[in-house]
Symmetry: D3
Subunit: 161 residues, 6 copies
């Protein structure tokens, strides 16, 4: 069973990594897919995000890092994936995700959505929080792997300099 | 990968059956497990619920019907299941389920919880609603399979007679 | 357009009365219907609840007080009502009510559900809160009309005496 | 009883149309009103949205299409409408809508808000989802009427060309 | 400033204790008050719950353990407390608590409600979960202090024996 | 005990003022702190917001108005504050606030978050609603103090002129 875990990963956090590890243990193969949205502003560009993801997931078996454009459901169909994995942190996530899952189920009954609950100690971590804290020079080493922390320091140091 | 989908199934509805079919397509083997709660009142006894589940899932590959006592996480460990499957219908479900999932993750990091969103056309169907409608002589043939409808008629007919 | 506003009304509160007044202003005729649930325990019996409702709504044009057994949707069909009115106080109400509305829409496409939001100053008032406060001898005159306050005093006085 | 159903309708979907049909069946006359927000970006301009709404609602009795500027409650007062109709899809909608309803009730006690629950099979459809799917060349013919699908194709075709 | 933290504490958990410690650090004096509800079934009687609370909070400065009957707001007024402390674990808690807080604010503007968010690692722990796990012989030593674990073992051992 | 109540206050409303009064009654000293976010667009600049806050809180004992840059938790540490006060209006607020509170608790266990529930009659008032109503020439004198109403009139008059 091939599964896809898609997101922005701007940048990848310990919350994402926990989910990737657990999904990789449940499914035979897992594609972690960075969505390309040309009009949406991001801190890291797609190449940087892919690179950080590859570095951070180097030790996890059966994981493949890719990027995609267009609708996720079309991408899954092209790749032959039967399952889309989504993380659920809080109730607000859930309602939004449920709508997307229903729309995707309506567009393709062959591809299903599976939700994994974020571990309670990671539930408050989000990529936007990590960016916010790092932009003010705060310490994010408990929320993201060293390679990401270094990239954040480089990014915000470069901005300030 | 062996997964367990546990519940009361008092009685099994089309909402449950949709979930069983989808979970059976995702995982190699699926145990549908009826929880035995001696102090909780039910319309159908455990034997009846098992029988209805067996009849209703007869055509689905890789599904096994069982009952269990005690904590679900202990039962999964005994059966060697790595995944607990839960259906999510609405936001209120989610919050409760998230707490249970966190508690289970805390008790055993080896067994994970996976949520499948109920299809939107089944989201308003629950076993308690089916019991309520049937108890007033309403038609539940759009919410539960024929074998369950017959059992409900027998149950409530017998009560009235 | 005939509308039905159903509930337990155990007892009727200022929150209910605000809704009755507003629904009566929107629809030509409004039936306020007390649901009879033989197995559910109530503080006031059905006759008492009807009497309190009649006294409390005496001054409102176009309102009729009734009781009913069985499914609300069947009762509406028997009475020729096209609309069921429901009050929404908080988010938890909403999710539950939405499920019921979807089930009713599925059972009869001819009868629709209309929600009126409870005024913010009544949103914390519920019949169970009024019963709880009154049972401890608290003052509920800001939450329920005089006829109900008197009935509560009689009820809890009689219990204590 | 004159009611107003206001929104952006960028563009009108089957979810909107279901609500318009049901509201038109409940109230004597229904104004569907496109709000003009000069600073908010939209896919279709106000004239296009009015035209699509007129085409899509041509067969529904008692419906009138208009646009308005400023606060909805002031517009309703000018038009002599006693009721504002709002659709409720999910819980997040509800909380936001409840705040707006309370603010409007505070500003004018003569105009009430009435919520209609979106049918469960339309609950995941939103204008923004339709725009998103169409922008990637996806098929939206199950979510919006033919006249809207054609307009979307023209819009995104023109953008690509 | 004297504050009251009321609850059932059936039995006290690490979640409660975390809240007691934090509230005791914020307010000069803190009364932890066990509500007596003669009609509500509990695992531990009021005397046992008080004893477990006293043992578990022995090391925390400025904390006093009491029990009370009737409405909490009346009890706070009798004790001269200006603040009621409540823990918030999840969204469902919040809505319910908000209604109670609004009702209390309406009954006495002199006594305010203050919410403390449960730490994320305790958010899934509730007294009912602890009872449920312990009743099946599960290990609750990560959710409740030793004195409570011993009491649970005695209780359920006695029941089984 | 020194507490900090931070926000945008763009502009200060009766909802904010109610919270400031109640927090000032609970804690010895209260700093009301305007967050400076250079990239976020605001109607009033930081100096105007500070001035409106000072005018509006002139009569409340123990309150100090300041502004700050960077992370709130760092600012609280610099000022020696042990408590951050947050208002809770609705459920959606709560989930977001809970995440922030968990993140802050993780970053500093010495500084706690305390939530005060917005009074029910102010729950629908937000600064953005006040701006929206005022921008259309609506009357906001029931939602904000006279000094703010005058500033809004000046602001939107100046824009139109």
């Amino acid at each position: 069973m091939l599964a896809v875990y898609a997101g922005s990963f701007d940048p990848v956090t310990f919350g994402h990594l926990d989910l990737i590890q657990r999904a990789a243990a449940i499914f035979d193969r897992l594609i972690v897919a960075v969505g390309i949205h040309p009009t949406r502003q991001a801190l890291f560009d797609v190449q940087e995000r892919l690179q950080l993801l590859r570095a951070a997931t180097a030790g996890i078996q059966g994981v493949q890092i890719e990027s995609f454009e267009g609708l996720l459901i079309h991408y899954c169909a092209r790749r032959g994936a039967r399952v889309m994995v989504r993380g659920l942190r809080v109730t607000m996530d859930f309602e939004y995700e449920l709508q997307i899952a229903h729309a995707n189920a309506d567009m393709s009954s062959q591809i299903d959505t599976v939700f994994l609950p974020t571990r309670s100690n990671y539930a408050f971590i989000s990529a936007s929080l990590v960016r916010e804290i790092a932009s003010h020079g705060g310490d994010v080493s408990r929320y993201a792997p060293p390679v990401v922390c270094a990239a954040l320091t480089a990014k915000f140091g470069a901005r300030k300099g």
